[in-house]
């Protein structure tokens, strides 16, 4: 996840395809040992509810990503929009690993009968996105992306991609970008029993697609920029942890993330940063 500070290439003052307003977001961190309890906890006050025991088969990253969405909605309170046609993009890294490990051990010890039927629907790349869509009644497109070290960049690019069609077909709808991962990966013994207590992190961003060609708002945005100068591309490459990205958002710092060598996802703060509650640099200062 490559990042730099500063203004993006190709500054324009009108909305380009895929640009989104960043309405708000939340970061949730929780120890692996506490995820099951988090799944059982009541939803945050002021937000929507979930069906009973909805997360009982969900993997850790789904639980944490869902909580980040619920917290964002609770913070919005009465300002929350109608979720009916919202879309969900969930970018995860190594989602479902502990369940997969238990499944491998079960297959070896018990044969096929020991394989849980939940391993594919609840612990795959699409699962965090599907859980948010199903749990909160969102009927827009729902996809999982990434799976590996570039999950964040893939999530930002895919959310911007869906924004293009949503801006036309459902202009009132939002896109929920959920990025999840482990701060330090879980370690398991050969019985699939955890031997460390890693931190699972989930970021939710509520993105409102903007119509291409309209004036660029003085607010926090995500947009996709082309990188014209090949010599400057190195600054966008690299591999950085999700916690560092979350910290930058909380601090309201402009951030660019390379999406291949030709494109970058730019997150540009507004006067109130990215809506994470921390006053931030203005667009000019950034």
């Amino acid at each position: 996840m490559p990042m730099t500070t500063g203004m993006p290439h190709d500054i324009q003052d009108t909305v380009t395809p895929g640009t989104c307003l960043i309405r708000g977001g939340q970061v949730i961190t929780v120890r692996r040992s506490e995820v099951a309890e988090l799944a059982r906890q009541p939803v945050p006050a002021g937000g929507p509810s979930l069906p009973p025991r909805f997360l009982r088969h969900a993997d850790e990253q789904t639980v944490v990503g869902m909580r980040a969405v619920l917290q964002t909605l609770a913070e919005a309170g009465g300002d929350a929009h109608d979720l009916t046609f919202d879309a969900v993009v969930a970018a995860s890294c190594r989602a479902g690993q502990p369940t997969a490990a238990r499944t491998m051990v079960a297959l070896q010890q018990q044969g096929p009968v020991g394989v849980t039927p939940h391993v594919v629907p609840q612990c795959s790349l699409h699962s965090p996105a599907s859980a948010v869509s199903v749990g909160l009644g969102m009927h827009g497109p729902t996809i999982g992306v990434g799976g590996g070290p570039a999950a964040l960049a893939e999530g930002l690019l895919s959310a911007a991609t869906l924004a293009m069609s949503l801006a036309v077909t459902q202009p009132a709808a939002a896109i929920w970008l959920i990025v999840t991962g482990w701060d330090g990966p879980p370690a398991l013994d050969d019985k699939a029993t955890p031997t460390n207590d890693s931190t699972c992190r989930g970021l939710a961003l509520c993105l409102k697609p903007l119509a291409a060609g309209t004036p660029l708002p003085e607010a926090a945005i995500l947009r996709i920029d082309s990188c014209k100068s090949p010599n400057s591309l190195e600054e966008f490459t690299g591999d950085r942890p999700l916690w560092e990205f979350c910290e930058r958002l909380t601090q309201g710092r402009a951030t660019h993330i390379g999406c291949g060598r030709g494109l970058a996802a730019s997150l540009i703060p507004g006067e109130m940063g990215f809506g994470f509650g921390t006053p931030a640099t203005t667009r000019e200062a950034a």
Binding site: P112, L125, P141, V145, P149, P185
Partner: protein, 413 residues
């Protein structure tokens, strides 16, 4: 109807499927109503475990004109990676794009999108069955799509997309948007999936698979009254997508235009197919609207219909809801009756089936459709292909968690 120069067209196809490894051989198999399903032993640790399944007999190595691998390199890669790399490289070859050559876009202007639903699970499983311990540890490998881009020398944006059984369809939808936005000048896009003991056991335990182990070729029977679940298959299908103007400039063959995309979510259940057709119908209607077409213009629908009792009936209702009275005149078939369900690659494979119908002028059949279910009232194409002109085809894909997708493909005039 002329194709717009900004339209997104398919200029290359590469495949490794139970019904063949090229556009021509797949078209031949579909036209002949041939089943690719057989008996498959997914046994592990000395325990045999047979399922009806559709297996790829031989995965084609990449052509040397596209990528020159060291001897033995391709065979050492995982089966899943072979099912991506082989078809992807052949799609580039088929498109006539010499990467790095004057006719091709610069590598940074070519994107890669792969629909792969459970890549990590299958990587971990393969490693574990080989005696490895990756699933217990912190190894954080590049994803298959990242390795694919690196192997093929493609430097533009890339991503893996997962929407369960609709994964490769969503990949096509994203690729079309990248081209329309001008983010790339060409996009290699498709999907792949592999038969795995864990996935087969999971779906079997979910009671989603057909239990006709003794008669595998009759096991996949979408829309039939006696259907009892789907038959899992494996395969890889990749396309090269370009804008029509770029394809014309270099004189490329156009298999067809990806004219419309519709997407929606059931928001119903994480596992069980949604019996309410509303959202699936919305995806179909959205695809037609996106293509600027009316229901009456559709010549053929390739249904998702996997052979599950709830899913097939819900899809039939969705088609009738979306198309209204026009549904009474539009032939519908499920090629999964022949190919099995290629899971992540299903949508891409079924797009090939639509392009074959357009190119060859036939309606692929639903084999094993002996007793059409009254709950699946449609204009079926049972048992054998029917000759007929197909200008416009729609293809449905529905995935776990309620991911609905419809693609509209039309002849590139």
């Amino acid at each position: 109807m002329a194709t717009s120069t900004s339209a997104v067209v398919i200029t290359g196809i590469g495949a490794a499927t139970p019904l063949g490894n090229s556009f021509g051989s797949i078209a031949d198999a579909l036209a002949a109503g041939r089943s690719g399903v057989g008996r498959y032993d997914a046994g592990t640790y000395g325990r045999p475990q047979e399922y009806p399944a559709a297996v790829v007999a031989d995965i084609p190595s990449p052509p040397a004109s596209v990528v020159c691998l060291p001897p033995g390199d391709f065979g050492r890669r995982s089966r899943l990676e072979q099912l991506a790399l082989g078809p992807a490289a052949w799609a580039i070859h088929d498109a006539g794009l010499e990467l790095g050559g004057q006719q091709a876009p610069p590598p940074d202007r070519i994107g890669v999108i792969a629909g792969i639903g459970a890549e990590q699970l299958k990587d971990w499983e393969r490693d574990y069955l080989d005696g490895g311990h990756d699933v217990f540890g912190p190894a954080n490998r590049l994803t298959l799509v990242q390795r694919l881009a690196a192997t093929l020398g493609i430097g533009g944006p890339s991503t893996t997309v997962a929407a369960a059984c609709a994964s490769s369809g969503f990949a096509l939808a994203l690729a079309r948007s990248w081209l329309t936005a001008g983010w790339v000048d060409a996009c290699l896009v498709g999907g792949c999936d592999v038969l795995s003991p864990t996935a087969l056991a999971a779906f079997h335990n979910l009671r989603a698979l057909s239990r006709r182990e003794d008669h595998p070729q009759q096991a996949s029977r979408p829309f039939d009254r006696d259907r009892d679940g789907f038959v899992m298959g494996e395969g890889g299908v990749f396309f090269m997508l370009e804008r029509r103007a770029d394809a014309d400039r270099r004189g490329a063959r156009c298999y067809g235009e990806l004219a419309g995309v519709g997407m929606s979510g059931d928001a119903s259940h994480m596992v069980t197919p949604c019996s309410n057709p509303t959202e699936a119908a919305r995806a179909i209607a959205a695809a037609l609207a996106d293509a600027g077409l009316t229901a009456e213009t559709i010549d053929y629908i390739n249904a998702h219909a996997a052979g599950t009792p709830v899913g097939d009936a819900a899809e039939a209702a969705a088609i009738r809801t979306a198309l209204g009275p026009a549904a009474e005149g539009i032939p519908v078939s499920s090629t999964k009756s022949m190919s099995g369900h290629l899971i992540s690659a299903a949508s891409a494979f079924e797009a090939v089936a639509c392009l074959a119908a357009i190119d060859r002028g036939f309606l692929p059949p639903t084999i094993n459709l002996d007793k059409p279910d009254e709950a699946c009232q449609l204009v079926h194409v049972p048992h054998t292909a029917i000759t007929g002109k197909v200008e416009i085809a729609a293809s449905n894909s529905f995935g776990f968690g309620g991911a609905n997708l419809c693609l509209v493909l039309k002849r590139a005039a």
